[in-house]
Symmetry: C2
């Protein structure tokens, strides 16, 4: 099979009408009236973002989900995506069928379709780039720089689990199973993002670590932030010391939880949304005006470090 066969047999069945059966040079999309289109791109690269020995189904799902998380943090409804897969010839035959299974699974789960892309060879490693599209009412996108003085900071789910999964990936203990699963297969908060859109002032997804991502909200909005360490929604591990778990929550990446600022007046509303969707929403800090913009910790005698993941 050459790339045209793979496209026809594996990728074409994943497409919607904008893809024009992958027969043209480009996809054509007729935008909905009174909607803004939201566009995000994330790559995942073998040896950097994934090991390479994972089930290709999981790799496909991770590639989609890191992008869906960005769509969620804008408050948008996901629509479709395109995919560039650069893959060494030797890996194609084993990789693509399972990879496509993963795409298909998450297309159903998130109600999205493929609209096009590029399938090429690559010398040494697999590189996957997905561009994900969503839409929302005109002007309705949630920015990062609109935190109001006095807003609380909230986060969904738990923090640090993914980092614990990654750092203990080779452990045989069953205690790390859930953490490893979270690392391999994040759960983007897509529905929640859409629900929160009307109430929150600023939102971001936690992909680079809480401290770094929270600092984007604070500093882009010209405010300071106090993070309450005792409030952090951290997972329970009987075999780990709490100090380590808190460090993972503060600086670990790949959580893909939603981190947002909201007027305290909406506290009850958030509780209702949380209970309706059965997803924990925790208040972990508040924003305030100050002369020197800073992030401080409450309930721990430490200052924030700058140890988040850097590519370069």
């Amino acid at each position: 099979m050459d790339e045209f066969d793979y496209i026809k047999n594996y990728f074409k069945p994943l497409t919607n009408s904008a893809a024009r059966e992958l027969k043209d040079d480009a996809a054509v999309y007729k935008p909905s009236l009174n909607k803004d289109i939201v566009i995000t791109t994330d790559s995942i690269v073998e040896g950097i973002h994934f090991f390479g020995f994972e089930d290709p189904k999981l790799i496909a799902q991770k590639a989609l989900r890191v992008n869906l998380s960005d769509i969620a943090s804008m408050g948008a409804k996901p629509l479709f995506y395109n995919l560039a897969l650069n893959i060494p010839k030797s890996k194609v035959k084993k990789f693509i069928p399972k990879f496509v299974e993963g795409l298909k699974h998450d297309q159903l789960k998130y109600n999205i379709s493929l609209i096009g892309g590029d399938l090429t060879s690559s010398l040494k490693h697999i590189n996957i780039t997905i561009t994900m599209f969503g839409h929302l009412p005109t002007g309705g996108a949630i920015p990062r720089d609109n935190v109001k003085n006095g807003d609380n900071l909230y986060v969904t789910g738990e923090l640090g689990l993914s980092k614990i999964g990654l750092e203990n990936f080779n452990s045989k203990s069953h205690l790390f199973l859930e953490a490893k699963k979270k690392y391999l297969l994040p759960e983007p908060r897509v529905e929640l993002g859409m629900l929160l859109r009307k109430f929150v002032n600023s939102m971001i997804d936690v992909s680079d670590g809480l401290v770094q991502d929270a600092s984007h909200l604070a500093f882009n909005s010209d405010l300071s932030l106090e993070l309450d360490i005792n409030s952090l929604p951290i997972p329970i591990f009987s075999n780990l010391i709490t100090k380590y778990i808190i460090d993972c929550a503060l600086y670990g990446g790949d959580d893909y939880e939603l981190l947002f600022s909201c007027d305290p007046i909406n506290e009850e509303l958030l509780k209702k949304i949380s209970s309706k969707k059965n997803i924990k929403i925790t208040k972990i800090g508040f924003f305030y005006e100050s002369d020197d913009k800073k992030i401080t910790f409450k309930n721990i005698n430490k200052k924030p470090k700058k140890i988040s993941f850097k590519h370069f």
Copy 2:
């Protein structure tokens, strides 16, 4: 400098308002009324699509232009693009400043802007994926499968030059300078594509080789095609035999010329467009109905081969 510094110092100056200063998780675009959006994605990979020793400025321009060529072949006006750059740490410092120069140059030339993307490390080689956006009046996109019985086949510019440049890349002869330049830096027919939109029935860009790309037009439209070998617009090389040049024109890739079908009634119009834009437009064949769909050659005693570039 880490990736945030590179984004701020090098990539942010390339953006438009949809990019929201690259501060959010996604770009937000308000579509124009009565327009369809055209979306295409092409990767170029070190060791596959480019050597790696080229000036990074040229690599950036090639990455943009292969995508612009797809937008041109739909008849659309290019708007903006996003960029995923996966690059080994050791190459960042030398590569990015020159790469960004190339982006900047072509942004001015084609009136496009950056709206977002992803900058990550990569283990061994550089992978560049660009998603290019264009728009055109609703329903106006030129498909590949709308050739009419009796249409002529036309092509812009010359064919085979890029392949000759690639195959003679190490030659020191000045006779190959233009060919090498065409291989390194294609000229997508963006303006011409927009002008042709109203007159042509089907269009594609020649990226995989004339025979293969022409067969997409014919077979997707359920027609046969006769290609006139004597009419092919081939370059002149005093040091090459014509048989080799014709082979490059028929099967060489990377020409990025527009190949389109058009009612013969528009012949005079095409001549005017060609002379106005100073770009050669040559009639090289015609489509016809037949029981068995096929491509045949006129003026040469051979059958078309299947030797176009395959990734797998």
